[in-house]
Symmetry: C2
Subunit: 277 residues, 2 copies
């Protein structure tokens, strides 16, 4: 068991939550009093963290929203802040991958520069591209499988000559030959419950990172039903962090996170009392 998954399970238990809050600081949606501040990105995200850390099992900063503002320093500071002030693990959402020598540098970026506990990566280059990430045995390596966007099926749902889709091949490899260190997770969108169920069947109890509820429209009850049989990290970003647009943004985010956490738990309790059963 990797340290990252230990932290996730501890937070899940302590906070009675499967919710991961995505930190996507967009100046177009941030409260006006912060959008103009030199460290407004950090202040905004810190406000969300302070208001929700007892409601979540992970935080997931999306690096693009920081990089688009040249706010890498504020991202480093944010992750340090989360580690210093909470027990919540940090997933750096960056969808990295390249040839081995370059993936080695991306792994260094995520785990040494930023100190993330887990990283999202893209499977298109194959295993040798993923190995430098997987070699960080205490980190969670979260491989894209079936993404939540409308066009996600364009490549991922191509049917191969064996009858498997591309995303099913990724799931099979991720649960088998790619998982030598036991630190693989998969990204599987909530917007396609049938495919989520298919992935659960292939990977067994592997923990799944499930984006797509909230702003992207995924249905919570259908998602929870499909994901039964193993760990889940259910991610919501915009619907939580932009619940309020003014000085009350953190309280509004807390209310939205509470409601989302509870709706996930309600859906789960309606089915059974343990998602691993």
């Amino acid at each position: 068991m990797v340290d990252f998954l230990d932290s996730v399970m501890a937070a899940e238990k302590n906070n009675k939550s499967f919710l991961c809050v995505g930190l996507d600081p967009d100046p177009a949606h941030m409260p006006a009093h912060l959008a103009g501040e030199p460290d407004g990105v950090f202040q905004f995200c810190r406000g969300i963290v302070d208001a929700t850390h007892d409601l979540v099992l992970a935080f997931k900063p999306q690096i693009a929203f920081f990089a688009a503002q040249a706010a890498e320093g504020q991202l480093r500071r944010l992750i340090e802040y989360i580690h210093a002030n909470t027990e919540i693990p940090v997933i750096l959402d960056a969808k990295r991958a390249d040839v081995t020598s370059t993936s080695t540098m991306y792994a260094r970026e995520a785990f040494e520069v930023y100190g993330a506990d887990a990283l999202t990566v893209n499977p298109y280059f194959g295993l040798d591209s993923l190995q430098p990430f997987l070699d960080y045995q205490d980190k969670g390596i979260i491989i894209l499988c079936r993404t939540s966007n409308p066009g996600g099926g364009e490549i991922q749902n191509l049917v191969t000559e064996s009858g498997e889709t591309v995303y099913e091949v990724v799931a099979r490899k991720a649960a088998g030959e790619w998982n030598g260190n036991g630190n693989v997770l998969l990204v599987t969108g909530a917007t396609h419950p049938g495919e989520l169920r298919r992935i659960r069947d292939i990977v067994g109890a592997m923990t799944l990172l499930i984006p797509g509820i909230g702003a992207q429209g995924g249905d919570v009850a259908a998602m929870i039903e499909a994901a039964r049989g193993g760990g889940v990290i259910v991610s919501s970003s915009r619907a939580v962090i932009y619940a309020g647009a003014d000085r009350d943004f953190a309280q509004a985010a807390r209310a939205a996170a509470t409601e989302t956490r509870n709706s996930i738990n309600d859906a789960l309790y309606a089915i059974c009392n343990d998602i691993r059963s």
Copy 2:
């Protein structure tokens, strides 16, 4: 024709070159007198740029090597330097892609924060993920098709039920429905000439970014023969920029770039006088 491709063709003509030098500043390989300097990454890359800008048709900084050292500011400064002092276009090698709202931020990172002229992107999410990049009509959007790494075929060479491989589907879409703005290029490794030829057959005259000669072992003559019929940008990184390891690194890089440029041209002249014929 997008501005990026205009710049590439102008540099190709002025410098009689199909060579793109990849800027991958790795402290483990950089000259010792620069590795300890606060702006050593910038100084190293500037030395390579000054020594090779009349021998290339593009520069390709690989963002991971900068991010792994928290040297994003030096990357911005480097791209500004190239634009201010040369006519050579800059490809930001970052292999980005995500859901649309996040890709919008990655596009802002590449084209507004860094001022790149082109960007490498990953096709796994499908067209809606690529659209925010493609919407920058004057920029080159360089989509991964068949990568040069040993495991590149693991996903890319899966055969679909129609008989096409995944990389062939990507090539077909990239040359068709994905290319509404005429600004798509493809990444096709030099290490698989048979597949490079297949891609050329699918995409017609589309310009191909071809990594994998030099350190990765791709054969120049076989690559040029396979790529005939359209534009090419042949990329070499380590074999050029680490040709020398001491204070003479820039002169050594110039010698290596000259030799690589000439070997590409020799291979081309051995076949014909115009790669577009």
